[in-house]
Every structure is written in C-alpha cells, then in structure tokens.
C-alpha cells in the first residue's frame, strides 16, 4: 500500500477567476481551512533566461501538515509561448496520441515531445522542436476557452511533461481546467486582460503568485499584468490535488503507515 501521497499533484497556488473554478473547500467541521495557502517556502532564484522554476511538487504528508505556513512567493520564470483563442485539446495533443500511457517515463517523454503538435502549420514556431522532449517555453499564454474539447487528461499532462509550468489564459474550458488542477501538471492561471495580444512567443516573463492574485511581468516589453486570484480551486491545489484534499477533509482515509 503506497504510503506517500500522490506526487502527481502539485501543490501550488494558482490564479483563477471566480466563476469557472470547479472546486472549493469542503466545509468540514474538523478542518480549519486557512486562508493563507500552505506552501513550501523556498527561495527561488531566477536562473538564466530559458530556465524556469516552480516550487517542487508538494506532498503534504511528507512535509507534515504544513497548513499553518503562510504562502511564500511562488515564481515562474522563462520564455512564453503565445497562442490565441479556442485552443482545443486535439491541438494540444492530437487524438491519435491518446493511446500513450503517460504513467511510465518513456511514454511520458513521448507525449511530451508531441505537446502542441496539433497546432496548424501557420504556427511556424514549434512548442517542442523535432527530436526534443522538452520545450524551451515554460509558460503558455493564451486567449479564451483554452483547452476546449476533450476530457482527456493527456492535454495538461503533455504540457507538463514538456516542461510547461503554467498557462495564463483569458478563460478556460472547464474540463481542462479541472484536469489541470487534478493532475497538478500545469498551473491554470487567468489573466484579467487579453495578455495574449500583447506578448510574443519568446518573450521572457515572470509570474509571481501571491494569495491575492498574481503578477505577470513581460521583461521583453516591460509590461506587467495582474492575474486573477485563485478561486475555489485553491484549497484543492494547496492540498496537493483531489486525493490529498479528500484525505485532508476526511472524505477518504489517509493511507496507513506501513
């Protein structure tokens, strides 16, 4: 019996607009839900251009309860890849790749190398170069209805496997958003304005998240944009995904320690 909590779910705060978030703290009488999101407070140093950082995936059990720690700054930094509206799941990962089982590393690499390979050819810049597994872009910026279409988790999984850390979209399709939260593969953030019209693929950006929302800085253009505060999905993400959250609120038993 696995004794550690899922490593799949990444406990990072995300920004999300209020209506679309599907998940919210379950008001369990036994749980004190703190408003400050529990996070691993590590100092992140910004590396040279091209690399990106995020707090390593949290496994709350292994870090103790951690629920009283206040949020330290979470930062993503790297090159951005810019898309427009209605990027559906088949563009993110062509449906014929759905036979891939991203549970082993080899297949995870394969699905990573195909991330965003469904984009039409007028997207002359590839997200992942042929022959590569990882993308040099760690942040995806998009318009409306990002991730529409299928419920296949391969969509957020391939992005995460390719090294994307966060998506900043104007709005999301609900299943994709929910799957991103559930898998922890990418952080689904929401912008307040149409950031995708003001950024260009290859711009260097930094995203800083805080309790109240976030800030996207485009170092190439010098502009900054507010990101929406995390809404209902916050406590689930903070807990480490739906399983960890369910354990936290007592909906499912915690794994017994061997």
């Amino acid at each position: 019996m696995a004794s550690s909590l899922p490593t799949l779910s990444r406990a990072l705060p995300s920004s999300s607009s209020k209506p679309p978030s599907p998940l919210v703290p379950f008001p369990s009488p036994s749980l004190k839900i703190t408003t400050s999101t529990p996070f691993i407070p590590s100092s992140i140093s910004l590396s040279s251009r091209g690399a990106s950082f995020a707090i390593p995936r949290a496994t709350p059990a292994s870090h103790g309860s951690g629920s009283d720690e206040t949020l330290a700054k979470t930062t993503f930094h790297g090159l951005c890849f810019v898309l427009k509206d209605n990027i559906d799941t088949d563009q993110i990962i062509p449906a014929d790749k759905a036979t891939i089982f991203p549970s082993n590393q080899q297949e995870r690499d394969e699905i990573a190398s195909n991330a965003l390979s469904g984009l039409p050819d007028f997207h002359t810049t590839r997200f992942v170069e042929p022959g590569e597994i990882k993308s040099k872009y760690s942040i995806i910026i998009s318009g409306e209805n990002f991730g529409c279409g299928s419920s296949r988790e391969h969509a957020p999984v391939c992005l995460g496997a390719a090294g994307a850390k966060a998506v900043v979209a104007q709005t999301y399709a609900r299943i994709f958003f929910r799957n991103s939260v559930a898998t922890g593969e990418v952080f689904p953030l929401e912008s307040e304005v149409r950031v995708c019209d003001e950024c260009t693929t290859g711009d260097t950006v930094t995203i800083e998240l805080r309790d109240s929302g976030g800030l996207l800085t485009n170092h190439t253009t010098g502009k900054q944009y507010k990101l929406k505060a995390i809404g209902d999905a916050g406590p689930v993400i903070d807990a480490g995904g739906i399983f960890a959250y369910a354990r936290k609120v007592g909906m499912i038993p915690s794994p017994s320690v061997a």
Partner: protein, 507 residues
Amino acid sequence: MASAVISSSPFVCKSPAKDLGFSSFRKPSQISIHGCQKKSISRKIVSVMAPQRSSSTSGSVKTGMTMTEKILAKAAEKSHVVPGDNIWVNVDVLMTHDVCGPGAFGIFKREFGENAKVWDSEKIVVIPDHYIFTTDKRANRNVDIMREHCREQNIKYFYDITDLGDFRANPDYKGVCHVALAQEGHCRPGEVLLGTDSHTCTAGAFGQFATGIGNTDAGFVLGTGKILLKVPPTMRFILDGEMPSYLQAKDLILQIIGEISVAGATYKTMEFSGTTIESLTMEERMTLCNMVVEAGGKNGVIPPDATTFNYVENRTSVPFQPVYSDGNASFVADYRFDVSKLEPVVAKPHSPDNRALARECKDVKIDRVYIGSCTGGKTEDFMAAAKLFHAAGKQVKVPTFLVPATQKVWMDVYALPVPGAGGKTCAQIFEEAGCDTPTSPSCGACLGGPADTYARLNEPQVCVSTTNRNFPGRMGHKEGQIYLASPYTAAASALTGHVTDPREFLQ
C-alpha cells in the same frame, strides 16, 4: 409571430405571451445578444443574467431548484443547493472506455493501493469504443489492460472485444460508449452519470446529470463512488413550434451553439424544454445533449416524459425517480426559439460555433461525407440519411463513409425497413446510392485516431460530417476542412458533391 429576435432586451423572455420567436437569420444584426454585448476583440458572450424569478433577499426563503440542482442535491444528500455550492456527490454510474480506462484504473490503484477494490463493481460500465479496429499495438494493448482490470475487479458491465477481425464475433462488444450506455439501460432519470469522455453529457437527454471527467477524477470515483462538484447555474433553452420535416436535432444544437458560441455555456447547465423537445425521440434528444460540451456546457438536461420512460423501461428494471425544475427555479439565461422558422445549418471549419445556413454554402465543393459517431451515427441518423437517399433516387458523388455507432445500430441498418421505402433497409438503400459499406461500429474517424482508422482524413480534404467537432486536425489532417451537419444535410451533400440543404431532396 413577431419576426424579431430572441428578445429586445437581449436575454429575458419572462412572459410567454410576449415571447418573440427566433426567426431565421434573415438579418444577422437581429442577433441582439451579440450586438449588445459583443466586445471588439472577443466573441465571448458576457455572462447572461436574467433577473431572479423569486428573490430571497431575506435569505430565509429558498428559491425553487432547477432539475440539475435537484439531482445534485439529492445525490449529495442535501435538501437544497444553489449554484456555486461545492458538494460531494454520490455517483450512480461511472463509464470509461479504452483510451481513458487504463489511466483511470492506474490512478485508482496508485491512490488506493494495488489490492484496492472499486466502490461498486456494478456501477462501473467499461465500453471499449475509441481505437478498436486498428493494428496500432498500443490501442490494442489498452483493451487488454481493461480486460485485466475488469476481471480483477469483477466489473459486471464490460463490453469486451477480442476478435478485432470481425466485430460480430464478439457478443459483448457494443461500440460507441454514449450510445451503448443508453441502449443498455444505463441512463436513467434523476441519476448522476460520469464518464471519462467529454460527450458523456449525451445522457442528459434522459433527465439526469451527466458530465465528462478526466482520469484523475475517475480514479477518485472508482475508489469512493463520490466526486466533488460545483453546482452549475442553468441556462434555459425553450424550443417551441413544429419541427420542419427537413430539420433534425443536429440543426437545433448547431443553431444554439452558433448563437452562444463555444464558450457560451461554460460551467453551466443547458436545459432544453418546450413543445419541440417534447416531440423529439430519445435519439434526437441525445444528439441535442451530446453537443452541449461544444458550447462549453457542464451538462445538458431534458425533462423526462413518457418518451423517456418508455425507452428506459424497455431496457432496464432499475427503478428511477425523475425530477423537474420548480416553477420558481432560477435560470441565468432564457433563450426561446421558434423552431418552425429554423433552417438546416452547418458549422463551417474550424469551430462548432461557425454556423452558416446550409443553403448558403452550396458552392462549397466537398471531397467526402462521413456519417457516424455518438452525435450522428445512431439508428435514426442512418434512417434519416437512407430516407433522403431513397427520396432522391440518385447516386452519391463523393465517397460516403458510414460508421454505425454500435453493434445494435449496425444490425438495425441491415435489418430494419426504412419507412416509405417499400421494405428496403438502410443498407440496401446505401448500397444503391453508392455509399461505402457500413463499417465496424466504433468512434471511428470522428477524432482521427491511429493512422489506419477507417475514413480518417489523411489528406487536406473537405468533409461534411455528422460528428461533433471540427477544430483543426480533428479527423486527422490538420488542413482538413470539416463541415458539421445533420444526417439529412450530410446525405444531401453526398448526392451533389457540395454542401447542400436537404430541402433539395426532401419536400
């Protein structure tokens, strides 16, 4: 009936007496929702808020609930819920298929242990359907993996296939999951049905809450029988008027999606009612609810009635309890349509909301026609196509691919006489019209699939299809151009080699 639009104030039609029919789009500017709310950059429909019907300013008076709210409340063992509530909901049926099943079970085992047992082996329905008739080893592997899981967990409903060379040699095999769920009696009013597929919303036609989820959520449900859900607000679509003989449910839903856009119902319920809805068969209702996800909808619902009960009771003896929206329930939007004024429509490449009148696309030359999928591959869909071919008495001008959704549909195509065709079956009519032979039932090329999938779009061709999505690359080739259409429109188009309004052959 006034010829204006949905309403002069864009959203609300409160008094039935004054309801304005939605006429066909003679003047595009009549679509006032777009006109009033359209942003210069975005086509996004701003949240449509109808005034609350019964306000509870004091907070002590509870408003009535919509169908969806009632279903979720009951499933959460609560007396009352409102949109926005996050609740743990008991699941009645969980469906998965060959593509997502392995992942869902993998997560279930990882989280609950290698020896964990599913919450209820009789509430899980495993339906291989996506990538079946292919030599792709990984696709084949996925069906084998599901067989292992089902054996180990003693899953009662596993519609297995072992002989890929002849689907008929597999007595358990069904085909497309959403059609199979209905045909096998797994869809029942008042229940909560989840599936690892976006078109799980199809089952809302039965007056239940049905929506698509990912593998991680499914893994959670497998172990607990519960899911954390946020109660969605409901948009109401009232369709009245006699359905013209050349119009089908596919036209209705394309009409609606074209109206509200691919994100117009994001996170919301789409509730369909009205005299037209009441006149629809179950399969037509399924087509309607099937594409709710293409508008971003969380789920679709249709109030169950005698048509529903008749269908369900013929297929299952599991008791059910239908629910209906209260008279004083709150809806966030109200749309009314006078169906008698609608015309056949298509969704042009590359978006399901890129609506156009079929007759206005008559100059679009096409390369092929595809009739199949959960959206347009059911028995009645083939009956409709056959009826048009028979009425026309001509041969198709382009390759016309027929992919029955399930074994049962395939058998109906070969066995049932088409009304008005002198005893001929669909299969006979299709053969006489020069269509391809109906192929093995599965999801087929609706979503492209492995390279050897029958009818896959491997070249940048123009295809009229009865399927549900036409984003770039959907059926295979990135430059393929897919026109979504009703079976009537698809059949008519096959006969002319151009996108064609079915009235050319049906009147």
